[in-house]
């Protein structure tokens, strides 16, 4: 049978002890009572922890009830202690209650019945206190092991409490008092910082949002912040909050978004490519007819020597020339559009540059521009699509030549350089022409943006796409000494790593 009550009964008077036993016997079916009659027995009982409740007289031969109370409290903080005495006074009662006495009952026959109720109530309170303490302990443990930061603050942001994770998150040293800090100071955006309570609307007790906080070391974190408005029992308003570090998620979201943007860009380029191929096909036939008719006119006019026809001859010559030019633009567009498949093979970049510049020897000779080479020795071979990289080089060289149209011929110069860089190999093409003007670097590689009166604005976007699909970067900037310089990088690819 389960024991209902384990009692430590401290009273020197055997009659009184009997009285208590008899009285509690009416309330509890099974009682286990220890009755120490000196300090040693009391100590032993205390150490064995074999009781749930203490009833003590005030005046003992070997101690006072206050001594008993304090000693019990030191070792068993939740164990209820009831003083049952005839010798006490109001002062004793007040003193004892201050030291955590649970109840004080005057030892008279009239008050004897109260003892049962007092014991019952004290036991219940003790059980509640113990459960509360265990819950608090559990909560504290949870808060400690939680990876999310938990805090409590006042409506003005003044922090009241936090768990370890909160400190770890914001790098607040263990030794500093959290109550010296204000949550608002950790916000990156001062507007958002504001009054914490103000963020919580009257009709909205909980607010959950993403924001950026600044750590003690000034690094920025993305977090989700959940704030709950709590009214304490005494009517004060506090805010309980949870902070979760989502920087990693944000970063992957960002890189995903970037990838999606890149994919969309590629898709647009591809769609444009298909469109161009279609347009090219449709335009070529009438263009062909225009070119042929122009030549027919020129030939027909050759047999008519009238001097007034000289202008007509020239104009038709222009028609023919413009048709040819249109055709070459379309051909370029189509070549880009139709190059869906690529062929990657090891290429020696320096010799590719030299070979490619030979493709433009006619244009170079016409422009009288000098090439200056600044090639790094013993570059590793790169695994690239030779034709595509050639296309990029031709584009950059043509741009350089066109930008120097207004530069005196003897000063025209293009510097072509290669060097090893962190990403692999970097190629630079610098001219001494008009420079990029006020065009922003991010505008440079946008389709149909051009500074050239006759340009289509497709060269650099195509080049950039080619370099990007090779895993490199292409960018341009103004030279300090005038002119523009374009760079592109190509990554090193180890063999077998296709």
């Amino acid at each position: 049978m389960k024991t209902d009550l384990r009692l430590l009964l401290v009273d020197d008077n055997p009659n009184d002890r009997h009285l208590v036993r008899r009285e509690l016997g009416k309330e509890f079916q099974s009682i286990e009572i220890q009755e120490p009659i000196n300090w040693e027995e009391f100590q032993t009982a205390l150490q064995n922890e074999t009781f749930d409740l203490v009833i003590t007289d005030y005046q003992l031969l070997w101690a006072t009830g206050l001594d008993i109370l304090q000693t019990v409290r030191q070792q068993r903080s939740h164990c209820p202690v009831i003083m049952f005495t005839a010798t006490g006074s109001e002062e004793v009662a007040v003193e004892a209650m201050k030291h955590g006495l649970d109840d004080y009952i005057i030892k008279t026959y009239d008050h004897l019945a109260w003892l049962r109720a007092a014991v019952r109530r004290a036991l219940e309170q003790a059980a509640v206190a113990e459960r509360t303490e265990s819950l608090e302990q559990r909560l504290a443990n949870l808060l400690t092991i939680l990876t999310v930061g938990v805090f409590r603050c006042r409506p003005d942001g003044q922090l009241l409490d936090s768990n370890c994770a909160f400190r770890r998150l914001l790098l607040i040293p263990e030794e500093t008092d959290i109550r010296g800090r204000n949550l608002s100071n950790f916000f990156l955006d001062p507007v958002e910082a504001g009054d914490v309570a103000a963020r919580l609307q009257a009709d909205q007790q909980v607010r959950n949002y993403e924001t950026r906080l600044v750590r003690e070391d000034n690094a920025t974190l993305w977090v989700t912040l959940q704030e709950t408005l709590q009214e304490e029992a005494d009517g004060t308003i506090v805010i309980d909050g949870i902070v979760d570090d989502i920087s990693a998620r944000k970063q992957s979201e960002e890189s995903l978004r970037q990838t999606e943007a890149d994919m969309a860009h590629m898709a647009r380029i591809a769609a444009m490519g298909e469109l161009l191929a279609g347009i090219a096909h449709e335009i070529n036939q009438p263009l062909n007819a225009i070119a042929n008719y122009s030549v027919a006119c020129i030939k027909q006019l050759e047999s008519l020597p009238q001097p007034e026809l000289a202008g007509v001859r020239e104009w038709i010559g222009q028609i023919s020339e413009q048709a040819t030019r249109t055709a070459s633009i379309i051909r370029g567009m189509r070549q880009f559009a139709s190059r869906q498949e690529t062929y990657h093979a090891p290429v020696e970049l320096n010799s590719l540059l030299v070979d490619t510049s030979n493709l433009l020897r006619f244009e170079l000779r016409q422009s009288k521009a000098k090439l200056q080479w600044d090639l790094a020795e013993s570059l590793p071979p790169l695994v690239v699509d030779r034709i595509q990289i050639q296309q990029v080089i031709v584009n950059l060289l043509q741009n350089a030549l066109e930008s120097m149209e207004n530069v005196p011929k003897e000063k025209r110069m293009i510097r072509i350089g290669t060097r090893r860089c962190e990403q692999g190999v970097e190629v630079s093409v610098a001219d001494c022409g008009a420079g990029l003007g006020d065009m922003r670097p991010d505008q440079l590689c946008q389709p149909f943006v051009t500074s050239k009166p006759r340009g289509l604005g497709m060269g650099l976007p195509i080049s950039k796409t080619i370099i990007q699909t090779h895993g490199g970067k292409l960018w341009g900037e103004n030279c300090e000494a005038g002119g523009a310089v374009f760079y592109f990088t190509l990554p090193l690819k180890r063999e077998g790593n296709v």
């Binding site: 036939q285 062909n288 007819a289």
Partner: protein
């Protein structure tokens, strides 16, 4: 008699076809336009001299297939292939099949003009060459077997006396045969005769 040359134009695009016709007009040649290779093959008369300008990609038979058919029939018609987009394998195949050239469409400046002129010139020359060889063969055919023997020896540089010794005939006989060789081949000197023989052999 010289036949007038014809430029055959095969292209499924009306604008292209007629513009080539206009281009060719000042060359004083005939033109015949076809909108497909099949139509052209049905109408083509190999006796008619000229050249062919054909598009590469057409509905139905392609330009390269057309070249294959002509090749099968042993027809060597100087051909210019036009293409808006040719790749390397198609270009190689067209050239193997005897195309004079392959031009991008639209072609630059006078490229097509020059190519057609060259094709016509090539055709004319080879036709004239063929006619001359036929004519030379005709002359040589009039020689008797004995006269041919003498001709071979003359061309090899043997004097009359040596020829008489080899053939075991009199010097007079050699001289008489020699005269009819020169008469029949319409030549006057040994050098002319040697050139004629070489030409007839197609050298």
């Amino acid at each position: 008699m010289t036949l007038q040359q014809t430029v055959y134009i095969v292209d499924d695009d009306k604008g292209s076809r007629e513009s080539i016709h206009a281009l060719v007009a000042p060359m004083n040649v005939q033109t015949r336009l076809f909108s497909s290779a099949e139509e052209f093959l049905a109408a083509y008369d190999p006796e008619q001299p000229g050249c062919l300008v054909t598009d590469l990609r057409m509905l139905g038979m392609s330009g390269v297939e057309l070249l294959e058919r002509l090749d099968e029939r042993g027809i060597r018609l100087p051909t210019i292939v036009l293409s808006a987009y040719a790749d390397v394998p198609i270009t190689v195949r067209a050239m193997q099949l005897g195309a004079l050239t392959l031009l991008e469409k639209p072609s630059r400046d006078l490229e097509l003009w020059d190519a057609i002129r060259q094709a016509l010139e090539t055709e004319r020359q080879s036709r004239e060459q063929a006619a001359r060889i036929r004519e030379l063969h005709g002359r040589l055919k009039t020689l008797t077997a004995q006269e041919r023997q003498v001709l071979e020896m003359i061309v090899n540089g043997l004097p009359n006396k040596a020829i008489a010794n080899r053939l075991l005939v009199s010097l007079r006989t050699v001289e008489s045969r020699r005269k009819s060789v020169f008469d029949k081949t319409k030549t006057r000197t040994v050098a002319e005769l040697a050139r004629l023989v070489a030409e007839a052999k197609g050298q």
